[in-house]
C-alpha cells in the first residue's frame, strides 16, 4: 500500500514536471520548426519576397534576415532588426500573435511602439493567413546571433503613438467590386506587402505618406522614386507586359534597368510567381493611366527610331574647339558609343532619369554605374566617377536635359552632383 502511494506521488511529480516543462517551452519557444506546415513555409518564402524583407533586414555582407542595415531617414538612422529565430537577438521567442501584432499594428513584443520605417502602415493590409505564413517561413530559417547597432533617432518611441493616432489607418482594404480579381489581387500586393508607396508616394513633414498624392513620386535612400501615377515621367507609356518584365527581370528595353534601391526589389520579385507579378503590373499600370506619355502616344503615331540619333546632333552641337567642359562633346565621346544606334545601352530618350523631377538618379547611375549584386543577373553600366569631374558631370546633365528630355533645366545640379559624389562614397565604405 505504501509502495502504491509512493508510486502515485512519483507519477504525479513526473506529470507535474512534464507539465511545467511543456508550459515553459510554449512560453519560451512558441513553435518548433517541425510544427510549421511546409506549405505555409513555402508560401511565406514567396510572400517575404513580395515584401522585400531581406533587403532591409540584411546588412551588406551580413547573414540574410540578421538585420543591422542602416536606413537613413529624415529623423535619424534606423538599424534594421534581426528577424531570424535567434531567441536572444532575433524573433525566436515571438509567438505568432506577437508577430501578427508587430506586422499589423506596429507594436513590438515588449509592447513598445515600432518606428514606421518598418512599413506596418502597409503590412496592416495583409491577411492573417499571409502574416502567419511569413512567420512560419522566418521561424524555420537558421537562427543567427546578431545584435544590431542601436538606432540613432531623434524621436522618442512614445511619440510614435501620437503619429499613429494621426496617420495610421489599421486594417485590411475592402476589395473594389468595380474592378476584376486580378486588379484587386494587385492592389492587395502593392498596398500591403509590396509597400510600393513607402518610396513612390511623397511623405509629409512628419514622415507619413500623403494619401491624396498616392504614387506621385518620392525619395528612397538618396534615390528619387519616380511617380507611378498619371505624373509618371516615363517617356514611353508602361504596358502591363513591360511592367511585368521589368519587375521580374530588372530590365525593360523601352524603359531601362532597375537601379539603386529598386534593383533588389526586382531580384526578389524574380522569385515570385508570374501571376502575382502580373497582378502588381495590372494595378500599377492602372495608376499610371492618363500619363503624359500615354497622351502623347495616343495623339501621335509611334515613331520607332526618333530617339536614336542624339549622337549626330551632339557631334553637330559640340563646339569645334576641343572643350572638355562641353556637354555635347562629352555625350558624343563618352556615352554615344553604347547609347546610340541600338547598341548595348538604351537610348537615353527612353530613360526616365532625364525626364524625372530631379537629376539624382541620372547622376548616381553615371557616377557609380549599374552592377548586379554578386551572382545576380541584371543590367550593367560602368562607373564614370573617376573619369568625369564635377564640372563635366554638370555640363553633361544640363546638355542631355535640354537636348534629349527637351525639358527646362533642373535647378541646383552642382549641389546634386556634389551630394551624390559624397553619399555614394560613404555607402561603399
Amino acid at each position: 500500500m505504501r509502495f502504491a502511494a509512493a508510486l502515485c506521488v512519483a507519477a504525479l511529480s513526473v506529470a507535474g514536471v512534464i507539465y511545467f516543462v511543456t508550459a515553459r517551452n510554449v512560453a519560451a519557444a512558441p513553435e518548433v520548426p517541425a510544427a510549421f506546415n511546409p506549405n505555409a513555409v513555402k508560401a511565406g518564402a514567396t510572400l517575404a519576397n513580395v515584401g522585400n524583407c531581406a533587403s532591409c533586414h540584411t546588412r551588406p555582407g551580413g547573414k540574410t534576415f540578421a538585420g543591422g542595415r542602416a536606413l537613413p531617414t529624415p529623423f535619424g538612422t534606423i538599424y534594421s532588426t534581426n528577424i531570424t529565430p535567434d531567441p536572444d537577438t532575433g524573433i525566436g521567442r515571438w509567438s505568432a500573435d506577437e508577430f501578427r501584432r508587430a506586422m499589423q499594428e506596429g507594436v513590438g513584443r515588449d509592447g513598445r511602439q515600432l518606428y514606421p520605417a518598418f512599413p506596418y502602415d502597409h503590412y496592416t493590409r495583409v491577411t492573417n493567413d499571409d502574416v502567419d505564413a511569413i512567420y512560419a517561413y522566418l521561424m524555420t530559417r537558421e537562427p543567427v546571433r546578431n545584435e544590431p547597432t542601436q538606432n540613432r533617432v531623434l524621436v522618442a518611441r512614445p511619440l510614435v503613438g501620437m503619429w499613429k493616432a494621426l496617420y495610421f489607418k489599421p486594417g485590411p482594404l475592402a476589395p473594389d467590386p468595380s474592378q476584376d480579381a486580378q486588379w484587386n489581387r494587385g492592389r492587395y500586393l502593392v498596398e500591403g506587402l509590396g509597400h510600393c508607396g513607402a518610396c513612390h508616394t511623397p511623405r509629409n513633414g512628419l514622415g507619413a505618406e500623403e494619401p491624396e498624392h498616392a504614387f506621385a513620386g518620392g525619395v528612397a535612400e538618396g534615390w528619387t522614386a519616380p511617380a507611378l501615377n498619371a505624373q509618371s515621367p516615363a517617356p514611353r507609356p508602361w504596358t502591363v507586359e513591360q511592367l511585368t518584365t521589368y519587375l521580374s527581370t530588372g530590365f525593360d528595353a523601352e524603359h531601362g534597368a532597375a537601379a539603386g534601391v529598386m534593383a533588389p526589389v526586382t531580384e526578389n520579385l524574380a522569385r515570385v510567381p508570374n501571376a502575382d507579378v502580373r497582378a502588381i503590373a495590372v494595378y500599377i499600370a492602372s495608376q499610371m493611366r492618363g500619363s503624359r506619355a500615354e497622351r502623347f502616344a495616343a495623339s501621335s503615331p509611334p515613331v520607332a527610331a526618333a530617339t536614336a540619333t542624339v549622337a549626330d546632333d551632339a557631334i553637330a552641337d559640340a563646339s569645334p574647339a576641343i572643350d572638355a567642359r562641353d556637354g555635347a562633346a562629352i555625350y558624343a565621346t563618352a556615352c554615344a558609343g553604347c547609347h546610340e544606334r541600338a547598341r548595348r545601352g538604351i537610348p537615353l530618350a527612353l530613360s526616365t532619369t532625364l525626364t524625372d523631377v530631379t537629376p539624382t538618379n541620372f547622376i548616381r547611375i553615371t557616377l557609380d554605374g549599374i552592377a548586379p549584386r554578386e551572382g545576380a543577373k541584371g543590367g550593367i553600366m560602368p562607373a564614370f566617377r573617376g573619369a568625369l569631374d564635377d564640372a563635366q558631370m554638370v555640363a553633361l546633365v544640363d546638355y542631355l536635359r535640354a537636348r534629349v528630355a527637351n525639358a527646362s533645366a533642373w535647378p541646383n545640379v552642382e549641389r546634386e552632383v556634389a551630394k551624390a559624389r559624397v553619399e555614394s562614397t560613404q555607402e561603399k565604405s
Binding site: I322, A329, I330, A332, T333, A334, I380, A383, A387
Partner: protein, 159 residues
C-alpha cells in the same frame, strides 16, 4: 590637339577626342602596362589613375582627361626600382598569366593612397571590379597587404 599629362610628362596628341585613353597610352605613348580586356569597362585590366581615382581607360575618351593627371603602371616604378606595390606583387608571385595585374595594381594604388592599412574585406570590396581568371586572388590579397607594410615602413603612402 589634346594635351595629356601622363606620369608627369605632357604630351600633345593628334587624335579624335573620342579616342579611348587606352589606345593613346598603348599605341601613341608605348605605355603597354594597361591592357585591353573587355573594352566595356567590365574587367578592369585597363585601369589607370586619373587625378588619383581609378578609371577604366578603355571607355574613357581622351577628351575627358585633358589636362588631368594620368598615372599608369609605368608611373609607379621601373624595372630597376619597382614601386612598393610592384615589388610586393613580385615578392608574392601574384601574377599567373599576368594580364589583369596592371589593373589590379593601379586600383590597389588608389586604395592605399586613401587607406594605408586596409583589411582583407576592404581590399576585396575595392578590387571587386577587377577580374582575374587565373585565380591568384589570395596572392593578390597578400601582395596588397605586403605593399601596405612596405609603405608604412617607408613612412609614406605614395610609392
Amino acid at each position: 590637339m589634346i594635351t595629356l599629362k601622363v606620369n608627369g610628362t605632357t604630351h600633345d596628341i593628334d587624335a579624335d577626342p573620342a579616342t579611348p585613353l587606352l589606345y593613346v597610352l598603348r599605341n601613341d605613348l608605348a605605355l603597354n602596362g594597361a591592357k585591353y580586356g573587355c573594352g566595356l569597362g567590365q574587367c578592369g585590366a585597363c585601369t589607370v589613375q586619373v587625378d588619383g581615382q581609378a578609371v577604366f581607360s578603355c571607355i574613357t575618351p581622351i577628351l575627358l582627361v585633358q589636362n588631368k593627371n594620368v598615372r599608369t603602371l609605368e608611373g609607379l616604378g621601373t624595372l630597376e626600382r619597382p614601386g612598393a606595390l610592384q615589388q610586393a606583387f613580385i615578392d608574392e608571385q601574384a601574377a599567373q598569366c599576368g594580364f589583369c595585374i596592371p589593373g589590379m595594381i593601379m586600383r590597389a594604388q588608389v586604395l592605399l593612397e586613401k587607406n594605408p592599412a586596409p583589411t582583407d574585406d576592404e581590399i576585396r570590396e575595392h578590387l571587386n571590379v577587377n577580374l582575374c581568371r587565373c585565380g591568384t586572388h589570395m596572392r593578390i590579397l597578400r601582395a596588397v597587404h605586403r605593399a601596405a607594410k612596405i609603405l608604412a615602413a617607408n613612412g609614406s603612402s605614395r610609392s
